[in-house]
Symmetry: D2
Subunit: 335 residues, 4 copies
Amino acid sequence: MTRIAILGATGYTAVELIKILLRHPEAEIVAVTSRQEGQPHIAMIHPSLTGRLDLRLEDLSPAEVAARAECVFSCLPHGASASVVSVLVDAGRRVVDFSADYRLNDAEVYAQWYGQKHADPARVGKVVYGLPELFREQISPAQLVANPGCYPTSAILALAPLLKAGVIDPRTIIVDSKSGVSGAGRTLKLTTHYPECNESISAYNVGRHRHTPEIDQVLSTVAGTSIEVVFSPHLVPMDRGILTTTYSQPIGQIGEEKVLQTIRDFYDDEPFVRVVDHFPGTKDSLGTNFCDITARVVRGRVLTFSCLDNLMKGASGAAVQNFNLMYGYPETTAL
Amino acid sequence: MTRIAILGATGYTAVELIKILLRHPEAEIVAVTSRQEGQPHIAMIHPSLTGRLDLRLEDLSPAEVAARAECVFSCLPHGASASVVSVLVDAGRRVVDFSADYRLNDAEVYAQWYGQKHADPARVGKVVYGLPELFREQISPAQLVANPGCYPTSAILALAPLLKAGVIDPRTIIVDSKSGVSGAGRTLKLTTHYPECNESISAYNVGRHRHTPEIDQVLSTVAGTSIEVVFSPHLVPMDRGILTTTYSQPIGQIGEEKVLQTIRDFYDDEPFVRVVDHFPGTKDSLGTNFCDITARVVRGRVLTFSCLDNLMKGASGAAVQNFNLMYGYPETTAL
Amino acid sequence: MTRIAILGATGYTAVELIKILLRHPEAEIVAVTSRQEGQPHIAMIHPSLTGRLDLRLEDLSPAEVAARAECVFSCLPHGASASVVSVLVDAGRRVVDFSADYRLNDAEVYAQWYGQKHADPARVGKVVYGLPELFREQISPAQLVANPGCYPTSAILALAPLLKAGVIDPRTIIVDSKSGVSGAGRTLKLTTHYPECNESISAYNVGRHRHTPEIDQVLSTVAGTSIEVVFSPHLVPMDRGILTTTYSQPIGQIGEEKVLQTIRDFYDDEPFVRVVDHFPGTKDSLGTNFCDITARVVRGRVLTFSCLDNLMKGASGAAVQNFNLMYGYPETTAL
Amino acid sequence: MTRIAILGATGYTAVELIKILLRHPEAEIVAVTSRQEGQPHIAMIHPSLTGRLDLRLEDLSPAEVAARAECVFSCLPHGASASVVSVLVDAGRRVVDFSADYRLNDAEVYAQWYGQKHADPARVGKVVYGLPELFREQISPAQLVANPGCYPTSAILALAPLLKAGVIDPRTIIVDSKSGVSGAGRTLKLTTHYPECNESISAYNVGRHRHTPEIDQVLSTVAGTSIEVVFSPHLVPMDRGILTTTYSQPIGQIGEEKVLQTIRDFYDDEPFVRVVDHFPGTKDSLGTNFCDITARVVRGRVLTFSCLDNLMKGASGAAVQNFNLMYGYPETTAL
């Protein structure tokens, strides 16, 4: 049994994380934190937790968290997260960080995309990127894991096998992603006000979205060459789910079956990647930790289509998968 | 041609009103007001108006409005509206007020339900309720019209014929309403944040919703006896539309066909009420000024089902219908 | 470990049932049946099951089913279900029947509402209604359980405590229900074609819905007097969830707190009923086996508001709850 | 006043067309046809037309149609349309054909993509493609106009200015389109059954969608060189609207402002194309005949984003725009 604290527990990734951990036989949630005034019961914030978790939100210092919990999931926003996580790690706690703070290996790239100096630059570049399908061996012993972004997971899982096998030209990658609204978080914004975004689809932050350098970095690592993708996120009127469509030029002639087989071989033993023949819908993986992938070759281009639930494989499911690896529990426990 | 100003032009009723007036051959929009900083172009706030209306939002005083426009539509919130409208009316302008300020005939009832003293108590009780199907003759010559609430319109249009004909017992009325999210306005709230209200239905403000006394008052006038309804509003995951289901006891035995015929007769010459045999869906009247009504008798109870678009017949469509009556334009112009 | 067959496995209740049973430590799914041609793999019909259940749909006779499985969940349509279930029960198998065939205690009432003679009249009236909150003791030893309808569960759970305590007048009950579209099943119909029902709400089958006699019967049993409710179902543009609003007259004067306390006391030890103070949204119980209930007293009427997931507590979750009781597994296993 | 017949009036494009024509001062709908049995009133099929159009569906021969109407809008499916339209054109009627039958200039390409021989091969290649922004002069005098597909309109309007100006490399075009469900029509299919497609996004028919050769052909004409695009359509959970994102390589270095200016200049006098700076959402043009376009340059690629309402500028709005040109009415009448 592992004693767990969850920092920043008012958001959507936190409530999803709590629901997974509640069915995890080896997890005990001992603290949920927030700066919310008045220490409300967690069920006041998330009515779906009524009768399921009897804890109040507390405004705890990092030291208080470290005193209570062995393992910490930080759902704090970027910037805020690193300054707390660094204290916890110094105190010997193991941490899964949902924020982007430790995902990028270069503090300057971080500063450029996130518009602020990194709060814990000494650790930057030494933290494993928590995508088990690529970095399982480094995750298991890690004290700190940078939980991946939702868009990057969908793009990287689709493209990594093809880059690794040298099937596609790394200079030609386009990533066109479509996400449900929960990906934008629980903070009130006009763009996610129901009558604004319902029954409408639009692109946003194209060329400026902060997941861009994250996709670049991991794909570059995989390919062994510097990659810069064109990344276009779109907001879709649905709660959950990401569909990422990628376009790239093959290196040489390649058939569709070969592309599919390359991806299939890569994920042969993976419990949470399903390589399928049909075009997956995001609903197929809704509420699960699966990522569904297929591919096509159209007029000489390689296309991939990958779906996942942004709150599960795109966030909290992945976090628990990492937690399971870190603590030696079966990787699929509670997922 | 009538020169029109629209006050409080950043909300959903205002943009809908603008779209209707843009196709009205006798309406010219000369001012749109808001306290929004920087006097942004209206299309910056409502992108759907791009290329359709070339005006900036202005923070005008009532006197400035009166100097520019002959007719004013006030989309200001309750409380704020009366203090501006009273000046405009004193200045001789004709006004359609979207707020609740002049709907109730009793300043004490207003104070009780709206939690504030009325800003223009002298006019309370002397303003016509802008429901042409009941009060057409008073609307035509009126200088000030109180535009009805969306829920009240749906309930009143369904019940008025039955009360007038003495078919139902006024002490037994239950009003169960279901509304799309645009009815809650454009102000950001957690309850109308997309991931909170999408794929969910819930009741809200039952017993405390401010449309309750408005329904009471108009039905009481129609019935000639004091009526207090039980009113339950529900929030439905869709942009627009209200479906109101009512339940009441008949006076004596009555058949379904008689109930339907009573309603049909009442609205025989009405251009915007359609009495139908099937169960209407809110989509049937989406984007139109129609209210669709049917009725059933089930196990001795009389049930009515009425649908309308809350931004059209429930707000801006009704306002233009009133405007047409006030200015002697054909009642259906632009609708 | 219990060997389980699922009959009629192409619909939404079946796929939901499969997902629950896949996480049940004591359940093994050994057969999934359908008349679907060509015995397709279950994942061809339900892509969400890819990699999770490796079975083909088979067109098995009742005898073949009985030979393979110890426990059978029948998701066959009414009429078809009784003729198969009767054979299975005769062969000694234990059955949870999702259809309405064994819910009503009177074959004539069945014939009247379902428009056909009952296929197994000898058993009618001897089968327990599978609502553990009311009939737990009869469910545990039962060989055959009639799994309740989704609307009835939401209405009965809200009203039973008040009827049992004599708090409300049984002659005055109105049930206004709002359901997501999955409740209408997977058979293609114009009314559930996306562009028809999306962004629209409408009533349907008012006074004729087949769940009416089921609500009547169970409430009558609870109250010890004959009850006929007025039942109005509405179709809401969302996948899952039912919100039922009920209206009734109290017997004598009663306060809101007393009403709430009556319901609270009734469900004190129940694992799946949450009596709450706020107005529940259907999203609070989405994907869970909970039923959330609150109540209000408005102008002398008693109102209840109850929410559940129609595919969980309204169907497959309830079925597994019954299964757990029948086989002596902890009642909340896999739920 | 022009006497109009609408063929195949049961679908979504037909009902939208009727609504536009009802507000057209010079259009009189004299016949609506369908093979629907029993000649139901049009309002039985489309309840939204209740009280607005008093016609029954009739199963008329082409000769009967020609006898009644001067102008015919054919909403018949491809294949069926050409065989009727050819008779009408021979009889001297003017026709706007919503089907794909006359859009392609090559009967062999038609046969290849539509899987059938063309019913009127003699006319193939001689019919104007009804996109006024490109072919206004040929549309005005035309007897027969091939109304464009919804996806092609969104892609062509975005790309034509850039191809014409030689700004982008015609060999590098990727078209990633996202459409609401009404684009799939009113015929019942599992993929458009509400619980299947709601809350889900998926790609479909990638590389095989029949709008592919249509996009190819018109862009080739514009560019003066043979173009083959990669086209990926996606189904989005909303009623209406298409967002098309395109990716292409610029010829030489080009800045974002230059790209935007090229598009702006091209559509300078167009009443229905709005070139905007922000990312348009499909809701901005919902219910209108506008196409909203913006562009970006990201990491050396040119990206365009175009939105339209698939039932308006993507179908019925465009058809009335063509009708207005053909009959010399102001081009924006009723739009």
